[in-house]
């Protein structure tokens, strides 16, 4: 299936956006301007973008504690996201959620959730809603290799299968849950193998190859829209940073050597952005110059987002006590 140049270029743009956004997050954490746990997606951009671009703009997406890249890949505006990370009133969640729980309902991002495994059932629920509302949407749920050990994985896969829900479970297997290797915690070679146990297709894909991810997710989405039910896709990818930003994890990383240098460097060589950029140039979709511009533009977008965030007001103290309910109490 042919992917339009426009789409290909948009993919690269979003990958750069995520990369620049995350690099800025690292700076802000180091500078003490961004507090709380912050998990970056550097190295996993192809998985995020390939999956989200394969969906319709208003399809549903749910994600994880590694929360920034998913909505950006889905097309979220950067300013409200960055403002959220800096706890501003203009944050997409009004400064209520911070880094681990971004959401942008305007582009189908129904919420990143930081309790590992907690988003899987709700993603099936959004798919059930789509089915009952007959709105033709599909639901995609990002989850990690670590999350695949939660009971909610099993329950969600089973429910999605027996009800033939239009949902795609996308396992971002970056090899580790914090310091714990998937090779230790997952009792089977590929998480995708577990799809058999739920009578649904299970596909392993190279998570550093955005086009490969795009294609398998597009097939899964088609299958879902046709009413043929859910799919499990496992993207093999890698995070280039420690589990989270902040000294604690740095030291853990350094001290533990839970990822050998050799492994680490071999993955660095497969930087999804470098690979995809080279491919597009080679394909003649863009020139090096145009690619540099994309890089430049997205970097500026991020800088503008930071400026916007820093210039935005903090929430009124009173707002801490507001917004618990959607239906105010009659009493």
């Amino acid at each position: 299936m042919k992917i339009s140049n426009e789409t290909l270029i948009e993919m690269l743009r979003r990958m750069y956006r995520i990369r620049h956004f995350e690099e800025k997050v690292i700076e802000l954490v180091a500078a003490g301007e961004l507090i709380g746990a912050a998990h970056t997606s550097i190295g996993e951009e192809a998985t995020h973008v390939g999956a989200c671009m394969a969906l319709a703009p208003d399809d549903y997406e749910m994600g994880t504690h590694r929360s920034h890249g998913h909505p950006i890949a889905k097309g979220a505006a950067l300013k409200p996201l960055m403002a959220e990370l800096l706890g501003r009133a203009t944050g997409v969640n009004r400064g209520k959620s911070g880094s681990m729980h971004l959401a942008d309902f305007s582009i189908g991002s129904l919420g990143e959730t930081s309790i590992v495994g907690s988003g899987l059932p709700a993603a099936a629920g959004a798919a059930l809603g789509a089915k009952m509302l007959n709105n033709g949407k599909v639901s995609l749920c990002f989850f990690g290799d670590g999350a695949s050990s939660q009971g909610t994985f099993h329950e969600s896969m089973n429910l999605a299968s027996i009800w033939k829900l239009p949902v795609i479970y996308l396992c971002e297997n970056n090899g580790y849950a914090v310091t714990t290797a998937a090779s230790y915690s997952v009792s089977v070679k590929d998480v995708a193998d577990r799809a058999q146990g739920y009578d649904m297709p299970g596909v392993v894909v190279d998570g550093q190859d955005v086009i490969a991810v795009y294609e398998v997710v597009q097939q899964a989405a088609e299958r879902a829209r046709k009413g043929n039910g859910p799919s499990l896709v496992e993207a093999k990818t890698y995070r280039y940073r420690e589990h989270a930003e902040g000294a604690m994890f740095e030291s853990v990383g350094k001290a533990s050597h839970y990822r050998g240098d050799e492994e680490y460097n071999s993955w660095l060589k497969r930087d999804p952005i470098i690979l995809f950029r080279a491919k597009l140039v080679e394909m003649g979709v863009i020139t090096e110059a145009q690619a540099d511009d994309l890089n430049q533009e997205t970097h500026e977008e991020v800088l503008e987002a930071v400026t916007y965030a820093k210039e935005s007001p903090l929430p009124e103290q009173q707002e801490a006590f507001e917004g618990l309910y959607s239906t105010p109490i009659s009493a």
Partner: protein, 322 residues
């Protein structure tokens, strides 16, 4: 007026709301067979899409309900027995209760959770829980606890129309109790308590099944010339403080009866509110009559010991009058 029992009131509320709004649907284990009668005839009326049997996956289908609510559906999740909600606790606490606030108002979670508390029937520790206090400590959930068929129908209909997650706990000791329920449509608002019996000497706040016991106690006390006012908060979160504080300001004495375990019970919360905000009205120590802080034993000889009873409530009132 026409009389219905508590289960019929649940059925009617669900039936009417599903008729009214096609976005309302119900799911639970064996729900199409309606073992308790609250969905009798629903499969025929609404079809299998809106009356969904679930596998035994409480966290899974709770989360499915939450996700469906996030995109505009209005699910009713029936757990049957309240002891099973612990399996779904994370979905209730981390997702249902937190989404609206955490996502800055982007998320609406119009979902109703229902569970019957089957205590007192010899089902022992794993099937006799009254777990509402554990959820009362979790901001974001509304918790209703109807004690009569009238309140059940009216509150459950309000819950289904509410845009927030509402947990409806049903008391297994009053399932077959009947009461007047008008034919015509009505709602009982969430968050408003009710004076079930007026009195002047002592206030008895009854929770769930203890409302009936409190009324029996009030009757017995009347024989002795003690006039007890019986208050049913009906909603535990948000709690109608004022109706309790006003009653205590009149009577000066408070007994709280609650089928939950005593430590961190709803009764303790009522006592704490009055000790903080109604202290100057009190003429005597508050008395809490709740279930003992032990697990629920099977043998009827043992099980009968642990719950509040009419006699224990009367005795507590006597203490406050002493």
């Amino acid at each position: 007026m026409r009389e219905l029992n508590y289960l019929q009131a649940i059925r009617e509320a669900q039936f009417e709301e599903m008729k009214r709004d096609p976005k309302v649907f119900i799911m639970g284990e064996d729900i199409t067979y309606s073992i308790y009668g609250t969905t009798a005839g629903f499969l025929e009326e609404f079809g299998a899409e809106r009356v969904r049997n679930t596998p035994i996956s409480e966290s899974g289908f709770t989360g499915v309900g939450i996700g469906a609510a996030l995109v505009g559906m209005r699910p009713i999740v029936d757990y049957s027995i309240a002891s099973f909600i612990f399996v779904a606790m994370d979905q209730l606490v981390s997702m249902a209760a937190k989404a609206t606030y955490m996502y800055g108002g982007q998320a609406k979670v119009p979902i109703v959770f229902r569970a019957v508390m089957f205590y007192g029937g010899g089902n022992a520790a794993q099937h006799s829980d009254r777990p509402y206090p554990s959820l009362m400590n979790v901001p974001g959930l509304k918790i209703i606890m109807p004690a009569t068929p009238y309140d059940m129908k009216g509150l459950l209909k309000s819950a289904i129309r509410d845009d927030d997650p509402v947990f409806c706990f049903e008391d297994g000791t009053v399932l077959s109790s009947t009461g007047p329920v008008p034919e015509e449509e009505y709602l009982v608002p969430i968050g408003i308590g009710d004076i079930k019996r007026e009195g002047t000497d002592v206030t008895i706040v009854g929770i769930a099944g203890c409302v009936a016991l409190a009324l029996q106690a009030a009757e017995a006390l009347a024989q002795e010339g003690i006039s007890a006012e019986v208050i049913d908060p009906r909603t535990l979160v948000p709690m109608d403080k004022n109706i309790i504080l006003e009653s205590v300001s009149k009577t000066g004495r408070l007994v709280v009866a609650d089928p939950a375990h005593k430590t961190c019970s709803a009764a303790s919360q009522v006592a704490a509110i009055v000790a903080e905000e109604g202290f100057w009205s009190l003429h005597a120590p508050i008395q809490v009559v709740a279930t003992a802080d032990v697990q629920i034993p099977f043998s009827p000889t043992l099980e009968q010991q642990v719950y509040p009873t009419k006699e224990k409530i009367v005795e507590a009132v006597h203490k406050t009058m002493a």
